[in-house]
């Protein structure tokens, strides 16, 4: 093998450039948590603000304040949403591939409470003195979010609400044991502190005409929600002891007594149904939730359903009411129920429930709460309703002219979505009134960073922090007292460490340390997301920096020739 003869003509041509090129570039990506939900602001940013405080030289307190401000910049209700949001952000977290997603919701709640305890004022935008006076109909999450975003930009804002207190469904639809009124009050007060005027007990359309409100304000935002519960369309469904979920919850949340007897059937599978059931249970009744599809299709937050079951509430699935049974005096005695089976998916993507013939049975009951759907109350607003459809706004909430709309009035969803719509509408209106380009709204256009680009080995595995819960056995006795708690500051500080800062620089220093060609230079004033400058003059193109980057911020560019 050592002579030339044995080896004649063995090798193929060695290409001119045999070193594969791995020239790095610093390219920010969208973190998946933000893809999951845009309402917690720059989630990666506010986590990084605290997690990287040692690098940016921020004191703990200072870092927490800045984080709160980043969060409150887009969402004035962090303490509120930290309690009731189903947190779709968490289900997108790349860390789920390693162990558990970050407890973003619990962290949001901590920061929200931190903002309340420290009486942090909501951040104002600087330098604008606007003459316009904008009106908002409905002091729910959507309307207040809009009011906040306009007021902080220097606009005079007046919010009208039909009820005696502000908050909308947050106040009247969510029971106190999930969201104490003091928490909601404190966050609403921060918005009012900016100078927002609140006109309560004023239903636009009846107490004051739409035309009058329109003429008063240069622009109007409608966040009237969907306050009216749909009744039960079955024989016997009208009459005493049958409540809609929204009526029942509104009364409970207003402290009014409701006589529901000892055996309550709640119809529906959403959060209102579960909330109503849990309230009824706290009133001492035996409670059964009747839902026509299976557990998987229930729109309610999964852990709320768990909590309800822990509290002794019975769940009857694949069952639908056929009629309400009453005795000779008209007193409710029970519900005739029919078994269902699941057919092919319907337009909502969920499997359609189909009645099973001959499967009827009767459940005893003293009251029925139907929490099946809610629709907007349009009294006096009919002129805005086109041909029976409720307004269909553009993405920025505009409907043409001077009216914008958002929140449940458009499409029933979670409070977080209503807050987003209020903010987007405000940003769009502000841009229009000031004649400026609409700011970068939601989509940054950056690619999302998937778990395959995250170097999980750069952190040790660890369990996520969990929101502390009152033991199930104590909850009913505790009545309307809150069932969950807020994580401690130490837990919060530990949880932020779990974040990989997917798609941006967390200043881990590995690229800087392992590049022996001096391509990376430390910034004198680093900030979360940017710690180094990059100069490729001496780059050996080995790609090590790219591969050690924990969050996939560095990526290979096209080869240099």
């Amino acid at each position: 093998m050592t002579s030339e003869k044995d080896l004649s003509g063995s090798a193929s041509e060695i290409p001119e450039r045999i070193t594969p090129s791995f020239r790095p570039a610093q390219i920010e990506k969208t973190a998946p948590c933000q893809v999951g939900c845009a309402n917690c602001g720059d989630i990666r940013g506010w986590i990084g603000m605290v997690a990287q405080r040692h690098k940016t030289g921020l004191a703990r307190e200072e870092a927490l304040e800045k984080a709160w401000r980043l969060l409150a910049d887009v969402n004035p209700f962090p303490a509120t949403l930290g309690r009731i949001c189903p947190h779709p952000c968490e289900s997108h977290c790349n860390r789920s591939e390693l162990d558990e997603p970050l407890a973003i919701n619990a962290m949001e709640r901590f920061l929200g409470d931190f903002g309340i305890q420290n009486a942090l004022p909501l951040p104002r935008a600087r330098g604008i003195e606007a003459k316009e006076w904008v009106g908002v109909v409905g002091a729910g999450p959507s309307g207040l979010s809009f009011a906040y975003q306009m007021s902080r930009r220097g606009y005079r804002v007046t919010v009208y609400d039909a009820r005696e207190k502000a908050g909308g469904m947050l106040r009247f639809g969510v029971p106190d044991f999930r969201l104490p009124q003091e928490v909601l009050d404190a966050e609403i007060q921060k918005i009012l502190d900016l100078g927002v005027e609140l006109k309560l007990n004023t239903r636009v359309g009846t107490d004051i005409s739409l035309e009058e409100v329109r003429s008063r304000h240069s622009s109007l935002y409608l966040g009237i929600g969907a306050q009216m519960g749909r009744g039960l369309p079955v024989p016997g469904g009208e009459g005493s002891s049958v409540w809609t979920g929204s009526d029942y919850l509104a009364r409970i949340n207003s402290g009014e007594p409701v006589d529901i007897g000892s055996r309550v059937i709640v119809v529906g599978g959403g959060n209102s149904a579960v909330d109503a059931a849990r309230c009824a249970r706290r009133g001492g009744a035996e409670v059964t939730i009747l839902y026509r599809r299976s557990r998987d299709e229930m729109p309610a937050i999964s852990h709320e359903v768990e909590d309800a079951l822990e509290e002794g509430i019975e769940l009857v699935l694949l069952a639908s009411p056929l009629s309400i049974q009453r005795d000779a005096q008209g007193n409710l005695t029970g519900v005739e129920v029919q078994r269902m089976s699941l057919g092919p998916p319907d337009s909502s993507g969920r499997r359609r429930p189909l009645p099973v013939e001959g499967s009827e049975f009767t459940l005893e009951a003293t009251a029925v709460i139907a929490a099946i759907a809610q629709i907007p109350v349009l009294d006096g607003l009919e002129s805005l309703d086109h041909e029976g459809d409720w307004l269909v706004p553009n993405a920025d909430g505009s409907t043409g002219g001077d009216v914008q709309v958002g929140g449940d009035a458009v499409h029933a969803g979670i409070a977080g979505e209503a807050i987003i719509q209020g903010r987007l509408a405000a940003e769009a209106l502000h841009a229009r009134l000031r004649g400026i380009e609409p700011g970068k709204v939601e989509a940054t256009g950056l690619p999302e960073i998937r778990p395959d680009k995250v170097r999980f080995a750069s952190k040790v595995g660890s369990e996520a922090v969990h929101t502390p819960m009152r033991p199930a056995g104590d909850r009913i006795a505790a009545g309307m007292a809150e069932v969950s708690g807020t994580i401690t500051e130490n837990q919060f500080l530990a949880e932020v460490e779990r974040c990989y800062s997917c798609g941006t620089c967390s200043g881990c220093e590995q690229c800087f340390m392992y590049c022996t060609s001096g391509c990376f230079t430390r910034l004198e004033e680093p900030r979360p997301g940017m710690y180094f400058t990059l100069n490729l003059d001496q780059c050996k193109e080995c790609g090590k920096c790219i591969e050690v980057c924990p969050g996939g911020f560095l990526q290979a560019t096209a080869p240099s020739v």
Binding site: S10, I18, P20, A457, S458, G543, K544
Partner: protein, 469 residues
């Protein structure tokens, strides 16, 4: 910590007088940080924990290594050609560190020296002195489908089994806080330790960023290497390269040294030189001598690097409660870096456990091991310089070839040139030992003879032995 309350690192590390009055022994509960989880860090930890166990000392060892050696490609690699001498493998076995087959790809039986004047295969001169190939990380970027185990990861798992904690945290500096070394973490935090062993090698900038250190303490001098991986089939690699490491002594401008190492279905090309660039790499790989030694259809893997190679030692690789081991401290010139990591790691651990962790203790009990390496490297430098001169002349190249070829053919009792070349390439023996060999009258006589023969034109060259076809 505000800068005002910190003493400069230099103040404390050089403070020998003060160190006499302090307690510099490790005690129960002492915390030791090892910066870098490569072989030096693992060997040091291995001996530290074993020795502590032997004297019933309860210590805590944290190894700081942010990278995982389980990754394929540069993220999990510690950049070297991956040749260890069989003597090291056996020394490790004698210490209880038995490397499994998946880690060490044994079976390298010879070196083939390629020159423009001809090739010569050098069989291992003494039977035990075989060599083995291994991957430091988990193989090249595209090699994840191949069953091989990372050497560095194997050692790390071993010390983890002994109770060491692996902390995936980058260290960005060492300061002195209240007479204890304080490690600064990449995330901006940090912690104090009773002893810090720096095993960060030379391919991280940490060693250059340690700030002010005592007077004669300086980062090692380095040169660049170039390593790239090619992929072919096992059969083709066996056919062309056999069970041999191929070394090239070629007269290409700026060219210093290169080797081609077969590793299963991969071929590692290693080049060393001050002035390496793409052009030189290309010229080398297209040289006719190299071309005939290259597997057909070998495709470049997307894996190459230009690592730094330790050339000069730190003069004093230690201070109070700080000790440098492996490439961060003293290592052998060009060769056998893992062997040096083993020896320095063991010596530093011995000093720390049985003597103390002051600069004085390390001076007395650690430095002698380092000094031996340093002295040997001086001899090595002379030998490499001589070799460089010899390889640059066609006549001396011919003489070397002739002498080695004759030795290999005759199974001579004293194969001087072969032993010399073998040891120079493998790093199996100290340079001093090799140098002594060159002073042997037999070596000089045979070299003169070969030189004379090389000067006579037209004389028939000795046919090289055909060993592996």
């Amino acid at each position: 910590m505000s800068p005002l309350t910190q003493k400069s690192v230099a103040d404390s590390f050089s403070d020998f007088v003060e160190s006499e009055e302090k307690d510099f022994t490790l005690r129960d509960g002492s915390r030791i940080a090892v910066v870098g989880g490569g072989p030096a860090g693992s060997f040091f930890t291995y001996f530290l924990l074993k020795m502590a166990q032997a004297i019933d000392l309860d210590i805590e060892v944290d190894i700081f290594e942010p990278r995982s050696f389980k990754y394929c490609g540069p993220a999990g690699c510690n950049h070297c050609g991956g040749i260890v001498s069989e003597s090291l493998v056996q020394t490790l076995a004698a210490e209880g560190i038995v490397l499994p087959r998946s880690v060490v790809q044994r079976g390298v039986e010879s070196y083939v020296v390629h020159m423009d004047v001809g090739d010569v295969a050098i069989e291992s001169p003494v039977h035990e002195r075989r060599i083995a190939a291994l991957y430091r990380g988990n193989g090249p970027r595209e090699g994840c489908d191949v069953e091989l185990e990372s050497f560095d990861n194997y050692l790390q798992e071993m010390v983890k089994g002994l109770g060491a904690n692996i902390v995936p945290q980058l260290i960005t500096g060492v300061e002195n806080h209240d007479d204890r070394p304080f490690l600064k973490y990449g995330d901006g935090k940090g912690e104090r330790y009773d002893l810090v062993a720096m095993a960060a090698g030379v391919n991280s900038n940490l060693i250059n960023m340690l700030g002010e250190l005592p007077g004669d303490y300086e980062p090692p001098k380095t040169t660049r290497g170039y390593i790239c991986e090619f992929r072919s089939t096992k059969e083709e690699i066996m056919r062309i390269l056999g069970r041999a490491v191929h070394v090239f002594l070629l007269d290409i401008p700026r060219f210093e040294f290169a080797a081609i190492i077969p590793k299963g279905q991969f071929v590692t090309v290693v080049m060393v030189g001050e002035d390496l660039d793409q052009e030189l790499v290309h010229t080398f790989l297209n040289d006719p001598v190299v071309r005939r030694t290259f597997p057909t259809g070998a495709t470049p893997c997307v894996c190459s690097c230009s690592p730094l190679i330790n050339l000069g030692a730190r003069k004093r690789p230690y201070g109070d409660r700080v000790v440098m081991i492996g490439d961060s401290g003293i290592t052998r010139l060009y060769k056998d870096g893992i062997g040096a990591a083993f020896r320095t790691g063991k010596a530093a651990a011995t000093s720390a456990i049985f003597h103390g962790v002051s600069a004085k203790d390390f001076e007395k009990h650690y430095w002698p091991t380092c000094r031996n390496i340093v002295n040997d490297n001086r001899v090595g430098k002379v030998m490499f310089a001589t070799n460089a001169i010899m390889k640059n002349s066609r006549i001396t190249r011919k003489a070397m070839l002739r002498m080695a070829q004759k030795e290999q053919q005759k199974d001579q009792a004293r194969p001087h040139m072969s032993t010399l070349l073998w040891n120079m390439f493998t790093g199996s023996a100290p340079y001093v030992e090799m140098f002594r060999g060159t002073l042997h009258p037999g070596f000089i006589y045979n070299l003169m003879l070969s030189l004379g023969a090389a000067l006579v034109p037209g004389k028939k060259a000795v046919q090289p032995r055909k060993k592996v076809a």
